[in-house]
Symmetry: C2
Subunit: 205 residues, 2 copies
């Protein structure tokens, strides 16, 4: 078992990224968690941009995330909009300022320096190894995958390149299929959609 070794490497890399995030931030100093929340909101689709989804993604409670989002909003980095169909739900979108900040800060400069020195082939190897590890970790522990919509088993592409989500039957724009979805389910998984006690329709994209 190489778990000690692998854990050590990832912890080390993550610590360096966090230190980077702390020192960077571009003028308006953001905390690492704030930056991660902003980052998520800039790469998720329009059905996954709610406070609850951010909390799930970051592995924090919704109360904790609520404060972080309040700060981001106060700094004019995100905007809130109430869902008209279900008025309990809030949709969050990064402002232009917010998007610029994410683009400047992620990925961190140090990582770019390092990866730029590696061959395409080596980069692929690293990306594949990490993908495999993450995928295995999520599957072994039955965690949410937060994958791209276009890799979801419920995505159907019909005639004339019309995309449709098999869970909600909704039409999807091409753009949406390249973003992270909260309801993403890995294609290889034979498991059926878990329709537990909750009868609410999931809201995938």
């Amino acid at each position: 078992m190489k778990d000690d070794l692998i854990y050590g490497y990832i912890e080390r890399l993550a610590a360096l990224f966090r230190a980077d995030a702390r020192r960077a931030g571009g003028g308006k100093r953001l905390q690492p968690v704030q930056l991660e929340a902003l980052h998520y909101l800039s790469i998720c689709n329009r059905y996954s941009n709610t406070p609850a989804a951010v909390a799930e993604f970051l592995g924090l409670t919704k109360g904790t995330v609520s404060q972080t989002l309040r700060i981001l909003q106060a700094d004019h980095l995100i905007e809130k909009e109430i869902d008209q169909k279900d008025r309990r739900i809030v949709h969050l979108s990064p402002t232009e300022r917010g998007r610029e900040l994410v683009t400047r800060s992620i990925p961190p400069q140090r990582l770019q320096n390092a990866i730029g020195q590696l061959s395409e082939h080596t980069q692929d190897n690293i990306a594949n190894a990490l993908n495999l590890l993450l995928h295995n970790l999520q599957q072994a522990n039955e965690l949410k995958t937060f994958g791209l919509c276009k890799t979801c088993r419920y995505l159907r592409t019909e005639a004339d390149q019309v995309h449709r989500c098999g869970l909600t039957e909704e039409h999807l724009h091409e753009d949406d299929t390249g973003k992270i979805c909260r309801e993403h389910t890995t294609a290889e998984l034979p498991a059926p959609p878990r329709r537990g006690p909750r009868s609410r329709q999931p809201r995938p994209g």
Copy 2:
């Protein structure tokens, strides 16, 4: 450039580890940073177990780390001892309780679940890919490596398996060479030891 992808994977893995660390902790709930500090102190050699080294390793300021260590000491997870040669320096060692806690919590159960399912070969691939990435990141940004003493370019092994550090000329026990050293310098690096304006002797092990 696969940097976006690679960053995403690592950030995701680290978030899961942190969530694990928060929920675990075994009775005495430790914060993720506290656990990481305790972990470091349980794998570093006797010359790298100071507050300053912990701060360097975690990428935090010494003031911040000082508080964390105070809490660990109050919980009887570490012990402090003043260096007799330089009485400014404090040496930190985990107590028996501290060591048990680290052993229980690191690596996290979820990672063990995931890695246990992979073949030896796949585990090696992942470990190698991460090692390469981390090594490259440290070298490209001139960061401290915090590697094992036995992989340091300054380690010399003399007759009768007597180990000696080329920087301090000190004798080293076999045990020490398997631990993390603050002054570790990667073997492949042709760079000379940086003896800058500081005239202090480094304290490798």
